[in-house]
Structure formats: structure tokens, C-alpha cells
Symmetry: D2
Subunit: 339 residues, 4 copies
């Protein structure tokens, strides 16, 4: 970290600040230029409140020379992380592509098995489905709960597809022990107590970017999970909140894919369904995400979108998904073979 | 709710949609104009997925004629809600003004009692202080926890100031039974399981707007608490995330004050400390909030901001607070006497 | 347009509003439901101030049933518009792909001819270059002006590449008569006097989305040009302003591509250079844009990016561009052949 | 400016960069710390492309130690600028408060004189009115043009109120010679050619913040005018574009008032009419702006808002304005007397 002091700062004040920083176990180097003094801080600056230093009278600016996240940092771990599910099951990252599909909510055994069959035939290698649903209104359908989870485990048994499903309440963590990939939704990205508990498991965690979360916050939330012991974190771009809301529910930030691939070794998945909120935009955005280098896609598929109990507006039909999947593979191939 | 169909929609499709809506217990009135058919829906439309209807081929637009929130709606409850703390204690709303001050984090007994003394002398009628702190980094100070809560209860006993403190983890709800006002932080505004649990208590809840939350989402989160039985909800504007971040941490949305006062009967409090992230902007924004009609203010005060263990950058000193408080009262008076 | 009135509105007030609307040459149909009255407006509602009607006491909501833009509307013109440059020159739209490349600013004859040679060899079919540059600071390099334009016309003569260059000042419009594609920059997207003047020409206009412009505003600005007589408008997505600015200068909104392709018949080009502000993100975003269905790409290429007089940070080297171009064609092929 | 290099950068590369910077007439000081090399740049860094340096392989971060704007910088000019209109006319800044009111558009002689009379009686000391109007749709009312300007000059003659009106087209600048305060609208804040021309006049310029403009961009635009010779610039906060658009058209950023008062010596005016887009929010936001320390307010007043030819939704009636004005003065007094 580099702290630039205002011109004319007295030597006494410089020494006072230096002592305070040294108390924090940092080595402080003082550089005197023609008109300014600069302090270079060496050591572990993670515990320093940058905003506070920035607010001091004598400080002109503070420059953080290191990213604040550690465990997810590619600098610490240059190779891509490859995340496994069960033995022999599909993997994510380092060239392994996850095509995750399924209904927003698990509604019934029939529905789930029907969709599972269709998406598997089309090329999906994971199934998603919500058992516990976060809904903006307390009066909306909140999911089948434990019964939904049970149906997912059954469909996994029958099809061999690993399941991806969302955990909302820290108290229901035990129910999720056999879940292959536990999803943390956009409203819980900064629910730190939940992240810490998930860090005690070894199940892969699919961590969604917050509703209006920054890339740095996403990586800091990954740090919470990893710092507690679970390194199996998958990051998910799912659209951010911007002023443009007339034609899309969120703005899918696909530049987050190459940015993240550069900053971190963790796999990056894109959810074009929530990312746009509109089924007719999903195919174009799924192909774009594949072209941008995503390690996976998560796409909502519903047998009867207009009757879906949640998020019907953004679900593809099984037929639309079957048409899209081969295009996704073809785009991936085009991007890879010419690398 | 009014559903406008595309010109040329076949009568068969109109009937199909009408039947589907009637299955949802709605009365559907069909209006035929020169070039368009409009369906008016009468009844409880809360369970209808508007986005889904909007996405149908035959639908041109959907117009929601009612706000989706009920319990907080001023239409249901024209008078301002007045929220009480303990018998004889200060109230909030309906003309009762809450001046809440105190440190971001409770750091020690000495610190807390010193600040309590100072802010009470200056005119504060509530004390705030964090015992459990949500921090972006897992390596930052996370608060004193239960010990901090205990210190807050002691300071209340000695000063008579009701306490405001944040609950983060649903599992620690029992520790908060004697807390006068339980704060839900911006990262938990849509932690619906937590909101439902808080709805089972009767303690007043200070609900912060999400980091990038809409006004409607804030009211829907209040609905979660109220629908579970607790009507003592205080809303808090604390700055929203915008593209402008060079000079302020958040953009304090003061227009939310008159908007909320119009939409809801619940009291509205403003937090200019988090809302700007900079101590030097707090006085101007506190006065502006008072002029805009806020029912209260929540201001961070720390005895030694540069050494504060969290958010030092935005804390006032006790002296700065003592200078600000009488101006706040004077502005309130100016606004009220000329009404 | 459908106007939903508040329950209980008196018949007198309904008639008053109806008369006022009829004065505007609209046919008003009144629909009475159980609890509400709805007015359907038939005719040309383009001149109605929707916000004003929305603000009336008796109005609950207004639903616009038609997009406010006309000339760019695909409903009026179902086939893709194909825009031509000079006879025998490249086209844009309707399957014709524009790969536009070149330096941010024209700096010298040598630089321009060198880059032109390189990009043409790599597959570019248009050359871009700024002669007049909008710079945030009055002290930054503002372009070579008329001399730069002259160099562009020379390079066109030698290479046969049509040129794309930005017009800033309405007073210099005469200088641009021989420019193949006149660019309107993001800061001028709503400079209506300029748009009207450009509407009097027949040169193709590349219209960039505003810095924080909505899709609707972009189409309304296209309307200004088209309403004045010039139908040769190319739309350009170039990144929007969001809260995420730590890792990208703008957020490239690729979902705008399928949204626009659906709403309008005009060609849609993407500028990943300004859209991200970082050269290392340009390849991934260029491929993503091609996969999303863009009709063209505009990419900055500079022989020596660190010494570029403007926007060096986002320019590719000719070598990087030569590596990228074939991948772009391959992705386009992958997307098209599987359609 | 301070440039922090990546650990392990070779001495050769450091020297190469140093030489390049020295070519730009900068003095470069090299500071070697335990793990990093830092370059301090002394001299005029205004011409350096910070983003370009930031993008170099060997650079970890760049810290700008000086604000990029000069003429508006309070550091250069500690006292508030006071801007005069005609001799004996009202002033703005340095304690002089401008209460600017009037219709969005000048519609007729009668309308203008009627409103002028009412607002002057209520305490306004400037009259505003649009003669040339920027409208999103080419089919909307675009103002009376030169005839409207003429009416404004007449009303000034009769009432003595200085006039504030918007200039859109650089070619009509001559028509504005007698205008007391020339307004630059939010869509033209970065129309640099226009700003340069206005810099050649001496009329005060009211410069609105861009639709989604940053505070820094606003000050850089002021720099354009001042660098061309006109120091009479008034800054105007008019709401910014955010994701919250359900209840307000823009988000009025009142924290910009104290931020600007700190950064610059220029007067700062607030426009709560455009800033909220809703007449019912204007009084609360006008009072809040006064409390926040604004040097003036610009408020739309119309004799018959529902029939206004533009922006009727946000206009107060003369009666509402007459009720509001004394409250504004009272809040100002409250804030000042207790300073």
C-alpha cells in the first residue's frame, strides 16, 4: 500500500502516522520527493481500514497495490481450479464445461423427471432446481422445501446428473449434505455467517454475484468460504442492476468473465436466465457467454413456462433448450480450436 | 391489474388466457377497443407473476394498478405509525424524532460509556453501536459479539437511552430479546428467513434499504416482517450504490424520504454516515435529511475516529456531533413552524 | 395507450380528461370495470406527455402500448436494413458484417497507412480513426482536425477501405461530405440539433449509445436522424456507465444486441474497445458480441499503444488484431451454420 | 502522480518508462522499497493518459495526487466566487442566494408575464423559461425559439428579473447576447465545442451536471469554459440516473452540494424539479437542498401544470411556490444563524 501525503505535511505528523502504522506490524518506508512525501507500507495490510487513512487530513490519496482477496487470487494459484462432483461425475473448470439446466422451482416429481430427461438428452450435464425459493413477496410461492430436495436427490439417482440447488437458511444446512453443488443466491452473497458455515463443508458452492455486487465483493465473499476451509467455489455472473430496466430485468455483465478468469483460478459460470429475465434473450446471451470463455452456463428450462410457479418469463422450453445446446458446444469449439 | 393484448390476438387465445386467470380466482373483464383488447383483473393479484404474463406472445403490456405491498401501505393505514420503545422511553414517528448516535462498533466499556455521555448531553435520545459487524473481508474486526451486546445493555441501564444494534445471524436472535431496536443491515434486507423470524418478535425493527435496493423492495421486506406479526418497523435510507463513487461511498437518496412518507405510514430514518461514507459530508446531509422530513437520524460518533476499529472514516467526534445536534433541531423547527 | 383511473373517480372528472384528450385528436374509449375505469386511447399518441398524465390526481397508471419510436421500429419494416457505402464497397446489416478497425486518433500519415495495411491484411473491411476528438480535459490532445480527415480520405483512396470518423461540431459538417460513415459519439447522442442536420445528409451515420443512455433513447435519437430524411443509421453499443468501475471503464451491455435486433431493423455494431476500456478484455468481448448476433465490430488498433495520443489503454496491437480477426469469423460461422 | 510498479520489474524497464515520462517534461523520482519500486512524477501531469499508464504490464497502480481540474479548484481560489448579473441586479454565490423560478417552456406572452408576476411576489429573484427545448422525441414541442427569447427579454424589462434560459445549438449563440444566465442542459454538458464558444463570452453560464455525469466530469466541463476565458460559471445538480426509477425520474444527489462546495469556489445551484420529476417531491427536496448549503434553487412553476407543453409533471403551481418560498428562506436562516 502506498500513502501519498499532502504537500507541506509537518514532519511531526508524518512521524505520528508512521508510528501508528508500525503499531499495526507494518514496515513503513518514507520517500521524500520535491513536493511530496510518500509512505510505502510493507507487510500484511489486510487489517488496515483504507477509507479511514484516506480520510485523514494529511493524506492526499492511498493506493492499494495488492488485491484484498487472497485465497481466490490467481497470483497465489496460477492453474485453473478444477472442481469435481462425485467420483466419475462431471467436473467444472480447467477446460471442463458445465451445462446446468432445469426448472427455477421444483414443482412436482413428474415435472422434474420430465425436464431431467429432456435436458440430459440435449446435452446438459448438471440439473438445477429450487427447493427453497427467495421471493420478493411473502405471498409468492416459496418452494416445496425439504420435499423438493428429496425429489432432486431421486432424480440424481435415476439420471446420474449432479444437482445444483439453493440454500437460503443457515439452519437448514444439514438437509444439504448430499447436494452436489450448493447455490448461494444473489441476496445472500454477503450473508457472511452463512458463507462461514458453508466453508466448513466440502461440497462445491456456486456463489452468485450480488444483485448489485462488485467483482471485488464477489471475490471477498469467496474468500469467506475459502478462509473457513472449503476451496470448492464456483463463481456465477447473473446480471447486475443498472438504470436500463425497460427491456431487460438485469444487465448481464459478460466482461466479468474475462476479468474474473484473469483475477482468479476459480471457475466462472454464467446464468443468462436471471441475467436477462427474458427467455427470448437467453440463446444469444448463452452463446455470447460461451464465446467470452465461461466455464459453464446455468439455464432455466420449464416444460410449460407460462404456468411455471416462479420465473416463467425467463425459462426456455425443453425444445428451445435442445436447439440451443449444440450451438453452445459449437461456439466453444470455434473459440478453442483457433486459440 | 390491466393486461393489454396485442392487436389482432385471436378470440381463442384471449379465452385461453382468461380461463387461466380465472383459475387463479380472479374476475376478468374484457374490454374491446377499436384496435385492441384489454383485460381488467379484479381480485387478489398478489400471486400473479407479472413478468410471466408480460412475456406471453399475445401480451403487449401489463399495468399494475396497485402497489404490491399491503401492510406498510399508507392507503391501509392513513395515520403515521408511532413506534414506542420502553414505557416512558422515546418514540419514533408521527412527530416524534429519533436522534440516534453512537460508535460504529462497540470497542470497550470505557469507549461506549464515554460516547454515551457525550451524545446524550448533546441531545441524542437513542444510542447505536455494533456488537456483531458485517465486514467485507473475513480478516477485518468482526465486533465484540455477545460481550458487546452486554455492554450496550449496561449503558442503557445507566443512561436510560434505548439501544439500536444489528442482528446478523438468525441463530443469535435470542441474545437480542432486550434490545430496544433491532437493526437489519443493508446486506440482510432480503434475507427473508431472518425477516420472518423478526416478524415473530415485538421489538421494533430498523430495516435498512439494501445496498442497491429499490424503494419497492424495501417495502416488500417490511411486508415480510409485518406479515409475520411484528408491525413495529422503522425504515432506514442509508445511501444507494451508483456510478458516482469518487467522492462519496454511496449516494444518499434523500428523495426516498418524501416518497416513503407518501407511500407508507411507517417512520423513516436517515443514516448520513453510511450514506456518504465521509465525516465531512455528514453535517450537511443530516440537516438536509431533517429538512426533507425524516423522522430520525442515525449518526456515527467516535471518540477517536482515526483509531476506530471500523468505519472511522465516516464518524464524527463528540465535539462535531455536539455542534451539529442543535442545528438539526433548528432546521426541524423551521420546517415545522412554517407548515 | 391505456390510462387506468383511480377507483372512485367522479364521472365529471372522467369526462373532463376525456375532452382534453379528444382535443389532442385522440379517440377515447371508456371501459368500466367493477372497481375501476380504464381509458383506451386510439390514434397518434406521440404528442402526449405521458409523465404529465401519470401525475394527475385521478390517474393510477398509464401503460404505453406502442414503442414511441417509429422509423426505426421493426414493426414498420420487418426486413433488416442493409446499409451501403460506395458502389462496390462493403455493406452493413442483413448478413453483411462490418469489421471496423483503426486507431483512436489519426496521429500521422505514416501511422495511419501502416495500421490500414495491417488491419486490411487481417480482414478488416472498414477503417476508423478520429480526426476530431472529444476529450474530458481541455488540455488533452484534441485530434488533428481537418488534416486528419484529409489523411483518412487518402488512406481510403489507397486501400479502398471506407472510413468511419467522428463529427463533433455541427459547424464542420461540410468537411464530412465524403466520409463513408459519420460517427456520432456517446457525448452527442442527444445533441438533437446535430442529429437533425445529419438527417439532411445521405451518408450512413454510426450512432453511439449515450454514456448512460437507455435503449429507448438510442432509438429516439435514431428517430431524429431518420425523421429528417436519412434512413442510413447504424446503432452502436459501446458500454454503459454502472457502479462497477474497478475493473472495466464501462459495462458492455451485450444484451442490447438481441434486444435491438428484435426492436429495430437497423444494423447493430459493438465497440468492445470503449465498451471495456481495457485491451486485454477486447478479444473475449469481441467474440461474445459476434456470438450475440452483432452486425459488426469496431475495434481500436494502434501500432504502439503505450505511446498513443489517446485511449492507448484500450488499443490492440496489429498483431493482436490479426490473431483475433479469424476467431471472430469462426464464431460467426459457428452461430450461423447451426441456425 | 505516483506510479507503483509491480514487484520484480527489471531496472531496464523502469528506466525505459522513466525516459518516456521525462520526454513529457516531467521530473521523475524513483523510490525503491523492500519489494516495490514507486515513481513520483513532478510537474504538469495534465497531459498524461492515466489509463494508459495503468494498463502497462509493469504497472500495478497509479495514484493521482492532484485533482485534474484547475480553474474551478478551490485550492487555486479559496474564496467563494460571487457571480453578478447586471449592475444592481442579484448575485449568486458567497452568501448570495438565487431563487430561480419559472415555466419549463415559454408558451405565450400572457403565460410568462402571469408567472413572472406571481413568482416575483413570492420571492424569486430570477426567472427561468425555455425558448429552445431539447426533447427526447422529434415530435414533441420544441419551444418557441427566437420568439420565446424575445418574450423573456421583455419580461426582464418589465420586472427587473434577470433571465435564465437554455442554449442548445452553437449556431444560435448570437441570439443569447443579452441573456443574463445562459443555461447548458444536461445533454450538452460534454458538448465541448459549445463549451469553448461559451468561454468566449462573459455572460454567466449555468452548467448542468450530465444525465449520468460524475462530479469530476462536471468540473472538467467547467474547466473548458473557464480555460476559454469565461470564469462566470454556476454549477447545477439536477439529479442523476440510477436504477431507482419507479418513484422518481432521477435521483437527486444532494451530497454533490457539500462535495462541490469543498472542491470548488464556484456557486452550486440545485434543480429539484428535474431532479425528481415529480411536483409533489419538489418542496421537500428544495428545503433539503437549502439545508445542504446550496447557493440557489431552480424550480419550475406553471400556471396550469396539466396543460403545460412540456414537463407539466414536475411543475408547481404559483400557489404552491408561494407557500414553499418562505420555508426555503427560513431553512436557510436556520442553517446560517447557527453556524
Amino acid at each position: 500500500m502506498v500513502v501519498v501525503l499532502r504537500p507541506g505535511t509537518s514532519q511531526e505528523k508524518i512521524e505520528h502516522l508512521t508510528r501508528w502504522l508500525e503499531e499495526k506490524q507494518l514496515i513503513v518506508r518514507e520517500y521524500q520527493g520535491g513536493e511530496q512525501c510518500v509512505l510505502g507500507l510493507i507487510g500484511d495490510t489486510a487489517g488496515i481500514d483504507v477509507d479511514m487513512i484516506r480520510s485523514l487530513d494529511i493524506v492526499e490519496s492511498v493506493s492499494e497495490t495488492r488485491e484484498p482477496f487472497k485465497a481466490p487470487n490467481r497470483a497465489m494459484h496460477p492453474d485453473d481450479t478444477v472442481i469435481s462432483t462425485f467420483p466419475g461425475g462431471p467436473k467444472i473448470g480447467g477446460g471442463h464445461f458445465a451445462l446446468i439446466a432445469g426448472p427455477c422451482s421444483v414443482e412436482s416429481r413428474e415435472q422434474l423427471f420430465y425436464i431431467a430427461d429432456k435436458i440430459q438428452a440435449a446435452g446438459a450435464n448438471f440439473i438445477r432446481g429450487g427447493a427453497f425459493k427467495p421471493r420478493t413477496s411473502p405471498y409468492d410461492f416459496q418452494g416445496l422445501g425439504a420435499e423438493g430436495l428429496e425429489l432432486l436427490l431421486q432424480v440424481k439417482k435415476e439420471t446420474g446428473l449432479p444437482i445444483v440447488t439453493e440454500l437460503m437458511d443457515i439452519r437448514s444446512i444439514e438437509l444439504f449434505q448430499e447436494v452436489d453443488v450448493i447455490q448461494v443466491g444473489a441476496r445472500n452473497t454477503q450473508n457472511y455467517d452463512l458463507l462461514r458455515e458453508l466453508g466448513k463443508l466440502q461440497n462445491p458452492i456456486l456463489l452468485k454475484r450480488g444483485l448489485a455486487g462488485t467483482i471485488k465483493e464477489l471475490l471477498m465473499s469467496a474468500e469467506y468460504i475459502m478462509a473457513s476451509g472449503n476451496e470448492n467455489v464456483i463463481l456465477c455472473e447473473r446480471g447486475i442492476r443498472t438504470y436500463e430496466s425497460a427491456y431487460t430485468r438485469n444487465t448481464l455483465d459478460l466482461s466479468a468473465v474475462p476479468v474474473l478468469k484473469n483475477l482468479t483460478h476459480l471457475p466462472v459460470v454464467v446464468d443468462p436466465s436471471h441475467g436477462t429475465g427474458r427467455a427470448d434473450l437467453v440463446p444469444a446471451m448463452a452463446l455470447a457467454a460461451a464465446a467470452a470463455g465461461a466455464d459453464g452456463l446455468m439455464i432455466e428450462v420449464h416444460n410449460d413456462p407460462p404456468r411455471a410457479l416462479s420465473d416463467g418469463a425467463q425459462s426456455l422450453t425443453p425444445e428451445q433448450f435442445a436447439e440451443l445446446a449444440p450451438k453452445i458446444f459449437k461456439v466453444r469449439e470455434a473459440v478453442q480450436t483457433c486459440k
